[in-house]
């Protein structure tokens, strides 16, 4: 029975969030709570020669100052594994304060613990660290000569090379070849809530409150690093103030807080400062892509070559995998994708919303726009001619697609004009242009069994719970809808609980996988409990349903009744009271569809953008964004729209605003705060229109949910860059697109 799924139900935590009552990690209240502050290295590479903590230790309120010289070593060795997989998930294979080596700027060199926040911050400034610096590498340019091709990237689970056919032959047989290089600045997540951890010990057990996208990942990581059993670590997280990948992995400050709390014997809170948020939980690495595409006159692709180079840390071979989408969605017999790395003095880069897909599709979709221009084919048409019904890497058919309808509905909503003549439209001194790009994001899954528990009380109310956390996706609202439908209860009878590792396990909610995996477990728990109760009723001589076939019984608003004779039935509560059952429970389990599934799993969409470029000043303003997406079944049209809209605005930020750079001399980030690292503000953002193309998918998971968290970002930057070209005649290949890049061309009529 589906009556709640899909409805734009308002968020159940709305009242808490608009009144300020919603509590986030740093707001955990504990008696005797101490405040910890990290001191970060000011050099990017070298050694700590001496640390003088005497002034800090004697400052008012200071309880302890720890450096590599006096902090007991942690027993565990961090090894990077993506949190999705359900194992300890350190963000990088390195833990600070274990020796005197400095590998990247901002690496913790001391932790100050004090009674008050201000005292800790002040004392942190009194810690004197003497360094022996060594030359550092933080940019591709500095290390291009030493670049290497790793075997695997992205935490070891993606090969660095993807190849099929013969790219050289494919390029040779092409009528038209486009070969271009793109450079993308590094991006930071910058959720508005800074990462925070609060740790409180009780004997040999520790409770950790953490800003995380995976409470289980925090539990397993803290226990592995500190040499504890998972049974000794409980993690509590309700509300998280955004993540976007920043909190997808468990970074050193989390276990460090628990470690320090154990040393001082009191609860400790550690909150990262905004500048520390640039060098505490990875980043989207700056990257250079070279894309070569060969095509016949009719638009048939003959070859795609996609190469990337970027800087990784001393510890891990990390690169965003940029060819996962570009290798699989277009029919093309000859493909080659290679990731090369430069080992440098940065922390290990990490998942950032649309990790790899957003960057890779910027490069490919920009190139395809150029191909369409050279061929004189409508870029929408070029894509429709080449989009594949099968995953080109495996030959398996998509479980569902909907991409053609996304282009059709998106183009209609946008009012797509196939005339691609540059500098054709203007509005005063603004040149107007439009652009389009394909959007796609894989349906991600882990091997972990997803579990949820449903418990029904005899008054007809139910609690459904799983160990997840709410960082704005709407999970707490949406899973109530799923549970209500599964149990056959009214929405206001069901409460979804989450945020405690003592609850049944579900995977870290990363990779846009939360909606699909959690809804599967919640749905299974709800239907298992419903079936259990229906089974009891038909077996109970005291029930009006006694002797009925279970499948002939439907449940509506907590009342079980015969489908064909609704008068015959009784409520869950009546059955439970008669049986003297105060509550009944069921666990729901779902094992995600495996890698060996006979179909490919991808979410598709189409992105349209209209921009205005000031002819004199080179300013770019986005006037409209239209996105059409086919995310399988939509669980809540309101929260889904919000996530897609947020993703599209992120794409706009990637296109026009966001970027950080290393100062190559110091090896430090140049833009460490929200005053310097520009993110979209209200005045940057146009109205965003979204078409939800619901496609039935019986294969990806029980409810056919493909996820909406990241796809909104994929293709947006390309649509905007393509619109800038349409407006100005100039193709900008570096992100973010800045005034400087457009100024030389705009007043003089294009490049």
């Amino acid at each position: 029975m589906t009556t709640n799924i899909g409805r734009p139900v308002p968020r159940v935590d709305g009242r808490q969030k608009v009144t300020g009552a919603a509590r986030y990690t740093a707001e955990t209240v504990l008696p005797g709570l101490l405040h910890a502050t990290i001191v970060g290295a000011t050099i990017a590479h070298g050694r700590v020669v001496a640390v003088d903590t005497s002034a800090a230790r004697t400052a008012d309120g200071v309880v302890a100052v720890y450096t590599h010289e006096n902090l007991p070593k942690i027993p565990g060795q961090p090894h990077l594994i993506p949190s999705l997989f359900g194992f300890p998930a350190p963000g990088q294979s390195h833990f600070p304060l274990q020796d005197d080596r400095i590998h990247f700027a901002g690496q913790p060199v001391a932790v100050v613990v004090a009674e008050e926040h201000e005292q800790a911050q002040y004392a942190a400034r009194l810690v004197r660290v003497e360094y022996a610096p060594e030359p550092s590498i933080t940019t591709v340019e500095q290390g291009r000569e030493q670049a290497y091709e790793p075997e695997r990237i992205f935490g070891g689970f993606v090969p660095a090379r993807t190849e099929r056919g013969d790219v050289a032959a494919g390029l040779a047989e092409a009528d038209v070849r486009v070969d271009a290089t793109y450079r993308l600045a590094a991006n930071h997540h910058h959720p508005i809530e800074p990462s925070a951890t609060v740790a409180v010990w009780d004997g040999d057990q520790v409770t950790v409150h953490d800003t995380t996208m995976g409470i289980k990942a925090t539990q397993l990581t803290v226990s592995a690093l500190l040499g504890l059993h998972p049974t000794q670590v409980r993690v509590l997280t309700r509300f998280v103030g955004g993540s976007f990948g920043a909190k997808a992995m468990v970074w050193p400050h989390v276990a460090l807080t628990a470690h320090v709390a154990r040393q001082v014997g009191r609860p400790v809170k550690l909150v990262l400062t905004r500048p520390q948020m640039s060098a505490a939980h990875g980043h989207r690495e700056a990257q250079e892509h070279r894309v070569a595409v060969g095509v016949r006159r009719d638009g048939t692709l003959t070859a795609i070559q996609h190469q990337k180079i970027s800087v990784t840390s001393p510890f891990d071979d990390w690169a965003e995998p940029v060819v996962g989408v570009s290798s699989s969605i277009y029919r093309c017999a000859n493909f080659s994708g290679v990731h090369r790395l430069v080992r440098g003095n940065t922390m290990t880069p990490t998942f950032t919303r649309g990790p790899g897909e957003a960057a890779g599709m910027f490069a490919l979709e920009s190139t395809l726009d150029e191909v369409a221009e050279r061929l004189g084919i409508d870029p929408v048409e070029l894509r429709l001619r080449n989009l594949s019904e099968t995953d080109q890497n495996t030959g398996k058919p998509w479980s569902s697609s909907g991409v053609a309808e996304c282009f059709a509905r998106g183009a209609a909503r946008f009012g797509w004009d196939p005339d691609r003549t540059p500098r054709r439209r203007r509005d005063g001194h603004w040149l107007i242009g439009t652009g389009v790009a394909t959007s796609a994001y894989p349906v991600v899954y882990s091997a972990q069994v997803q579990r949820a528990r449903a418990r029904l009380y005899s008054d007809g109310t139910a609690v459904v719970e799983t160990g997840t956390q709410e960082f704005g996706t709407g999970v707490s609202t949406v899973m109530g809808q799923v549970a209500a439908d599964a149990l056959g209860l009214a929405l206001d009878r069901v409460r979804f609980e989450f945020g405690d590792t003592n609850m049944p396990n579900s995977s870290a909610t990363v990779g846009s996988a939360g909606a699909g995996s959690i809804s599967a477990a919640v749905h299974r728990a709800g239907t298992a409990l419903r079936d259990q109760l229906v089974g009891r009723a038909v077996a109970d001589p005291g029930s009006p349903l006694h002797g009925a076939a279970p499948e002939s019984v439907v449940v509506t608003d907590g009342r079980m009744a015969l489908r064909d004779d609704p008068e015959v039935g009784e409520t869950y509560g009546e059955l439970m009271h008669r049986g003297l059952q105060g509550e009944v429970e069921a666990i729901g389990e779902w094992r995600p569809t495996g890698f060996d599934a006979p179909f490919g799993m991808m979410t598709f969409g189409a992105q349209f953008a209209e921009v205005a470029v000031d002819e004199d000043l080179g300013l770019v303003r986005v006037r409209r964004l239209v996105g059409a997406f086919a995310p399988g079944r939509v669980l809540n049209r309101s929260t889904a729209r919000s996530q897609l809209m947020g993703g599209m605005i992120w794409g706009m930020g990637q296109a026009l605003l966001e970027g950080n750079e290393f100062d190559p001399r110091s090896g430090r980030w140049a833009n460490n705060g929200l005053g310097e690292y520009l993110v979209a503000v209200n005045a940057d953002v146009p109205e965003v229109e979204i078409e939800l193309v619901e496609v039935e998918d019986r294969l990806v998971n029980p409810l056919g949910v493909k996820g909406v968290g990241e796809i909104g970002l994929v293709g947006t930057a390309a649509a905007i860059a393509n619109a800038v070209h349409h407006a100005t005649g100039q193709r900008v290949r570096d992100l973010p697109i800045t005034v400087e890049q457009l100024l030389p061309a705009v007043p003089f009529g294009g490049s």
């Binding site: 608009v18 508005i192 929260t639 209200n682």
Partner: protein
Amino acid sequence: MDQRDHTVGGPPPTPDGARGPVAAPVRLRVNGVDREVPLEPRVSLLDALREHLGLTGSKKGCDQGTCGACTVWVDGRRVLGCLTLAVTCVGREVTTIEGIAPADGLHPMQQAFVDHDAFQCGYCTPGQIMSAIALLDEGHAGDDAQIAEWMSGNICRCAAYPNIRAAIRQCRDQREGARGATA
């Protein structure tokens, strides 16, 4: 500092009224209630609210005056709590997100934010709402461009901006409708 009351302890003032760097009692009027807490003079209004008064609705996003999550009102004007020293608020009226709703209800702006799904993670939301209400009082909500400009001190990383504008429009139109009805 003449409002200071020494019942909480702390060092006595010097004859000229100056106080030292250590914590001393400070009386703040927050959401219509007088509260007295010992504060060091370097404590920001935001930290006084969050760490000392238990009012955690005002959020710390940057502590640098760049994100707007800490927006509160001092004497009815929106200010950044992280860039305001608590001791400068003595004798002033401080209003936070916890102080704007009627008992048992929501302020119309709070309701409008819920109606339009004008947030996701919710962390910037109290600051957004404090700015949004102030915006109406300032007369800066005439059209969408004006709303967007005057709301640009409040970053929403979830990027609910179009929905935030819709919420402000709803509240503005309700208010103008009410004014029209009484005129």
